[in-house]
Symmetry: C2
Subunit: 193 residues, 2 copies
Amino acid sequence: MQQLIDRIRKDGVLKPGNVLKVDSFLNHQMDIELINEIGKEFKHRFADLDITKIVTVEASGIGIACIAAQYFHVPVVFAKKAQSVNIDGEVYSTQIQSYTHKRIYDVMISKKFIGPKDKVLIIDDFLANGCALVGLIELVSCAGASVEGIGIVVEKGFQTGGEVIREMGMRLESLAIVERMDVETGEIFFRGE
Amino acid sequence: MQQLIDRIRKDGVLKPGNVLKVDSFLNHQMDIELINEIGKEFKHRFADLDITKIVTVEASGIGIACIAAQYFHVPVVFAKKAQSVNIDGEVYSTQIQSYTHKRIYDVMISKKFIGPKDKVLIIDDFLANGCALVGLIELVSCAGASVEGIGIVVEKGFQTGGEVIREMGMRLESLAIVERMDVETGEIFFRGE
């Protein structure tokens, strides 16, 4: 998605340790006009699918999933990261290791909101090592629902997540795939360019 | 907002301890059509304000804030709950006690994304004891920005948060204010009815 690639090049910030910060428009401050275009692009790429629910995980996936859901006319269910007194009843749960936060989270979805009839589109902001995504796929599969597609805004193509997910046979669409970043020069190279 | 009140009455679930669960349409599974109407209603109620940014706190406020932001044509900034390696540089931070999670969170906003020129609309899903909201007001004020308005989806009118915030002189609009709930009969009474 050229508009997204241009924006990452303009406002993305590289840090040592292969960190790409897009917090000025995607996951701390959110440029809603851009995210609307991202939502339309997901609809365009998955137009052939009959989706019943969009699933994401808190926190930074939620806004993108909600904006995109307007084009699919389906509800969003977001996996929660901590046990809350407001989640009772039975849940599907798994553990996700966060590369960004250097810790392990329990994530869960109430069994009330996902079931065998659901055809799910998973949406998230970032794909790096794939831990969060594998966890979400596990939650959806535990519910007996099918993962029809996965929409990612930014994939770090030099980490293993994308390969792992594609080898699982998943239909994965990443709107921008970073192949290589040069923290010295600030250059970012995208797949397909 | 009658559509919201009707929905809370239809799908809200009461639990002992004055817990009102709206997780089937607002803060775990999200009915995007309803949240779109909520976004429009916020725009209607704050139509006279010249807003530059919508501020919320992760996680359940984010989707509502993003959908609403489409009607205000401004970015969303969401306060983050945990220090991340992806937030560097200076931040405004405070602590929020969560009634729901029975713990204290550090929340923070990067100084890059809020400043003295900003006219802020704060949006959140729930207002009960007001701790989260007071924390958000503090973050915005520390940045030298002004809180022009506060939009809440569900206020628990029998808890002290709404009174505290109104006594601060804040312009607070809650789309549904629960006056009383009867866990025995399942009845919910709203202010103004």
